[in-house]
């Protein structure tokens, strides 16, 4: 793909497959303006999908939504150019998000389980189905046998039968397999692109493409979170109040535990510590990664948002943590053992990375152990504990039932969204994707209420 400044030369008229898999960049010339415009259009589609998912839209509704979004944003005056626009915009976004890529490597292998093998493990498959509330498998359901490494999500949730290194996945679980494969393929490609971009292309393109790419990766903001004004900094004495009014349950729980025990284990310190710090970043990678598996993304939830940290400055953060920890371990031990990691979080120690607050996705997928208090309460609390915590937040009993319903269907972010709505008495259209978004949305509502009463 080559970006050209000249007037558009007709893009290749070759017939391109109607379902592109984006395996390799096309040999096309692209106008510089289109380079940016196409990418923006695709981002609008992705954001719309993300909003729809976080609102818990049903598969049929999502189909319609995706179609509408696609029509609205991805159209092109020349019908023949639509496919090219699709491909170009995908690869531009690859370039934009390649810097946050992860490495992973898998091989493909699908093997349908034979009848005789099915009979021999039928009982176990039935047990798994029962344990996750699925109907019992019958002989006409196709099962695939894949190395367990290829379906980490299913393994983690104990949603498959595993024997001698193989996971037996039902046809309706193939989604997870494909998603993993695609994510892995893409993240590998992203990291290659990144290497090439940083080593050569960025320098060559520093006056032309580079500014566009940099701008796309940092400046595209959803309409809702473009103005982080008004609560950019807070001080230690405000935190108590804010925790009660505007912290999501995961952070509230950590905060209360810290006040109670004057201690938090590592995972909790990270989750709460980064939440409290001031930070602005955008993470569209997660949603972009699943961009091209439109058919399979339904049912998954991908956070992306501009993240506004609560805004505790380093000095205040040290004071805050010290005030609690020193009651348990003493001031001296705090300075010796814990202060480092707080400065580390703020990028003042070690490899000096300015760490980003955790997203819902990351918190939901964490694995707290005994004595840990981090994680997502909607996923990691027992039912009774969650009910108790919700009513303590002031959610009424009907609200609690609605939340529990989402929890049972494993829609943890949706459960949090409902909690938000119940606590604030107003709706949250974009859904909750990030603890810091919960906080900033909450503050906006409270401040507008203050203004209206004042």
């Amino acid at each position: 793909m080559e970006a050209v400044r000249s007037q558009r030369k007709s893009l290749s008229n070759d017939v391109v497959s109607t379902l592109p898999l984006y395996r390799s960049a096309p040999a096309l010339e692209v106008r510089l303006e289109d380079f940016e415009l196409f990418a923006m259009d695709r981002l609008r589609v992705l954001k719309g999908i993300s909003d729809g998912l976080s609102r818990g839209k049903k598969p049929e509704e999502m189909d319609n939504l995706v179609e509408d979004l696609w029509k609205a944003n991805m159209r092109h005056p020349q019908a023949s150019e639509v496919v090219n626009k699709d491909i170009i915009s995908h690869f531009v976004l690859r370039l934009v998000y390649c810097r946050t890529a992860l490495m992973a490597e898998f091989g493909l292998s699908y093997k349908a389980v034979s009848n005789s093998e099915f009979e021999s493990i039928k009982d176990k498959l039935g047990q798994v189905a029962k344990s996750i509330g699925q109907p019992l498998p019958t002989a006409d359901v196709i099962f695939y046998k894949v190395p367990f490494e290829e379906v980490p999500e299913l393994v983690a949730g104990r949603r498959v039968f595993i024997h001698k290194g193989n996971a037996y996945i039902a046809a309706n679980q193939v989604v997870s397999l494909v998603a993993t494969q695609f994510r892995s393929h893409l993240s590998k490609a992203l990291s290659l692109t990144n290497r090439k971009w940083t080593s050569t292309v960025r320098e060559q393109e520093k006056d032309r493409l580079a500014p566009i790419v940099e701008a796309l990766s940092t400046s595209y903001l959803g309409p809702d979170y473009s103005q982080p004004k008004g609560f950019s900094e807070i001080s230690v004495k405000d935190i108590n109040e804010l925790a009660k009014s505007s912290f999501p349950l995961c952070m509230r729980h950590l905060f209360e535990k810290l006040r109670e025990d004057h201690h938090l284990k590592h995972g909790g310190r990270m989750q709460l510590g980064l939440f409290l710090k001031m930070h602005a970043a955008i993470n569209l990678l997660d949603i972009f990664v699943l961009d091209t598996v439109r058919d399979w993304i339904l049912g998954h939830q991908f956070p992306w948002y501009t993240v506004w940290g609560v805004g505790l400055k380093l000095d205040d953060a040290l004071l805050f943590w010290k005030a609690e920890f020193s009651q348990k371990v003493g001031a001296e031990r705090f300075d010796k053992e814990y202060a480092y990691s707080i400065r580390h979080n703020y990028g003042r120690e070690g490899k000096r990375t300015d760490y980003t607050p955790y997203s819902c996705q990351k918190i939901i997928s964490s694995t707290p152990g005994v004595g840990d208090h981090h994680g997502c309460p909607y996923r990691h609390f027992s039912e009774e504990n969650l009910r108790a915590a919700l009513s303590k937040m002031g959610v009424n009993s009907r609200g609690v039932e609605d939340v529990m319903d989402k929890v049972q269907n494993r829609h943890y972010q949706l459960a949090c969204t409902l909690t938000f709505e119940a606590v604030h008495g107003s709706s949250c259209d974009s859904g909750i994707n990030h603890p810091n978004q919960y906080f900033s949305d909450s503050q906006k509502i409270l401040q507008s209420k203050n203004h209206s009463t004042a």
């Binding site: 490495m103 992973a104 490597e105 176990k124 047990q127 798994v128 029962k130 344990s131 996750i132 509330g133 367990f148 490494e149 980490p152 999500e153 393994v155 983690a156 949730g157 104990r158 039968f161 595993i162 024997h163 001698k164 290194g165 193989n166 290497r195 940083t198 080593s199 729980h253 535990k257 590592h266 995972g267 053992e337 997928s365 694995t367 707290p368 152990g369 005994v370 004595g371 840990d372 208090h373 981090h374 994680g375 309460p377 990691h380 609390f381 027992s382 039912e383 009774e384 504990n385 108790a388 915590a389």
Partner: protein, 455 residues
């Protein structure tokens, strides 16, 4: 940082001048002089090298000669100096460095893409090539995480009454690693004080990504994060237990709970203790009926039957009897047993490739006990209180005379048994399959290049 490191050392120097004593008795403790003898005569340097080379130290052309040197070792020295990113070219380099530095603790890290000692040189290329590429799948289970379900000791102490909790953990995890995940080369090690470590060394395990490691750790997780509103730490839902949980329950947990822990931990012996269990039953009518029974017959001595067993039977009977078949009660018995027995893993250790773990055959600086391997097939017989201490080993060496039997000094000591377990149950089968893998990988590579030539 592990918990052990943050503790202050108090007891290590109370045996000053122990060397001058007469006779064979060597006073307990750990000091630099003892360690020098231990690393000089007993520590299995060659075996450690063999293990960490995974067959790549051979003459076969398929061997990756750079493999061992890319492994990170870390030494903790006597005065809390912590040396990370040590790497060694050969068995003798490793041995000489250990003997010279005499570390109180040796940790093993991942295999990196490049020699970790030269990571700075590579860092300047800006390409981020210094990254972990292989690491054993590891598990760390620590008795301190069980403090709410054991009454015999707490914190760093263990005794034979609570040790069965570790035996359970070994049995449950070991079986699942082999039967479910298909791993074969698994080493269990006593951590020297209050827990066990597990090293899964199959090639497949060493190459797992962080995401896959986390998935396995999650597969093993049943505990829920909770608050004090409920003592229910385990919440089992669904119409059936997943086959892994069901097997763990019927083959290990239930049996250990009923025949060992119930009595050894006196789980029902006082009101405070049985109330903790009743808290896990979400049905007022059941709990009040049981409470009534137990408060009444507190005086009438049930001398023949163990009171814990009797009360557990009553509880089970009531929950299983027809009249209380409520939704939430279905899993109650299992939930109680899981809460009191199911393994508690330190998740973070297993989830990331770059976590360090103490090497086997280190000497625990506090207890002086050697981190010896445990044979999972005989784990019920393992007794942490009889694990050889450094001073005992030195005593045994002294008794054996000064006869220089360079190759296997350990055979004259009680470390001999541990070394045999290490070699026969773990190292030899591992190296055998490493050799086979290297050979088959090499011949298929040859085959491939032959094919491409014929084009």
């Amino acid at each position: 940082m592990t918990r052990e490191e943050v503790e202050t050392r108090t007891d290590e120097m109370e045996i000053d001048g122990g060397e001058q004593r007469e006779g064979d008795a060597v006073p307990e403790g750990v000091n630099a002089n003892y360690l020098k003898v231990y690393y000089g005569k007993l520590f299995p340097h060659a075996d450690m090298f063999k293990w960490m080379s995974y067959g790549n130290d051979g003459k076969h052309p398929g061997c990756d000669q750079s493999y061992f040197v890319r492994r990170e070792f870390s030494f903790t020295l006597d005065n809390d100096i912590y040396l990370r990113f040590q790497s060694f070219n050969s068995a003798s380099e490793l041995e000489n460095s250990i003997k010279e530095k005499c570390p109180v603790k040796i940790d093993i890290g991942p295999v990196y893409s490049v020699d970790p000692a030269k990571r700075r040189a590579y860092a300047q290329t800006g390409d981020n090539v210094f990254t972990p590429v292989e690491r054993e799948l590891i598990f760390d289970i620590d008795m301190t995480d069980y403090d709410d379900v054991r009454y015999c000791c707490s914190g760093a102490d263990v005794c034979l009454d609570c040790w069965p909790l570790m035996t359970i953990a070994i049995k449950v995890i070991d079986t699942a690693l082999r039967d479910d995940f298909g791993f074969n080369h698994i080493l269990w090690v006593y951590s020297g004080r209050r827990g066990v470590h597990c090293w899964v060394c199959d090639e497949k395990a060493r190459r797992l990504t962080n995401e896959q490691r986390a998935a396995i750790a999650d597969y093993f997780r049943v505990y829920k994060v909770g608050n004090e509103n409920s003592h229910k730490k385990v919440s089992l839902t669904g119409l059936a237990l997943h086959p892994f949980l069901a097997r763990s329950y019927t083959e290990v947990l239930r049996n250990f709970f009923e025949t060992k822990l119930l009595s050894s931990q006196n789980l029902f012996s006082s009101e405070e203790r049985y109330e903790k269990i009743l808290d896990m039953i979400p049905d007022e009518s059941v709990t009040s009926e049981l409470r009534g029974k137990w408060q009444e017959n507190r005086r009438s001595s049930i001398s023949k039957d163990d009171i814990n067993v009797a009360r557990w039977e009553q509880l089970k009977h009531l929950l299983q009897s027809g009249k209380h078949k409520g939704q939430g009660l279905r899993r109650c018995i299992e939930e109680i047993v899981f809460s009191y027995t199911y393994p508690r893993l330190d998740m973070e250790v297993s989830k990331h490739m770059n976590h360090l773990l103490k090497a086997p055959f280190c000497v625990h600086p506090k207890t002086g006990r050697v981190c010896v391997p445990i044979d999972p097939n005989q784990c019920e017989d393992f007794d942490p209180t009889t694990v050889p201490t450094l001073s005992k080993l030195l005593e045994e060496l002294n008794m054996g005379g000064v006869k220089a039997d360079a190759d296997n000094d350990w055979d004259r000591t009680s470390l001999g048994k541990s070394m045999r377990i290490f070699r026969t149950t773990f190292l030899q089968p591992l190296l055998k399959s490493c050799k086979e893998e290297i050979e088959s990988a090499y011949s298929s590579k040859l085959q491939q290049s032959k094919n491409s030539i014929s084009w």
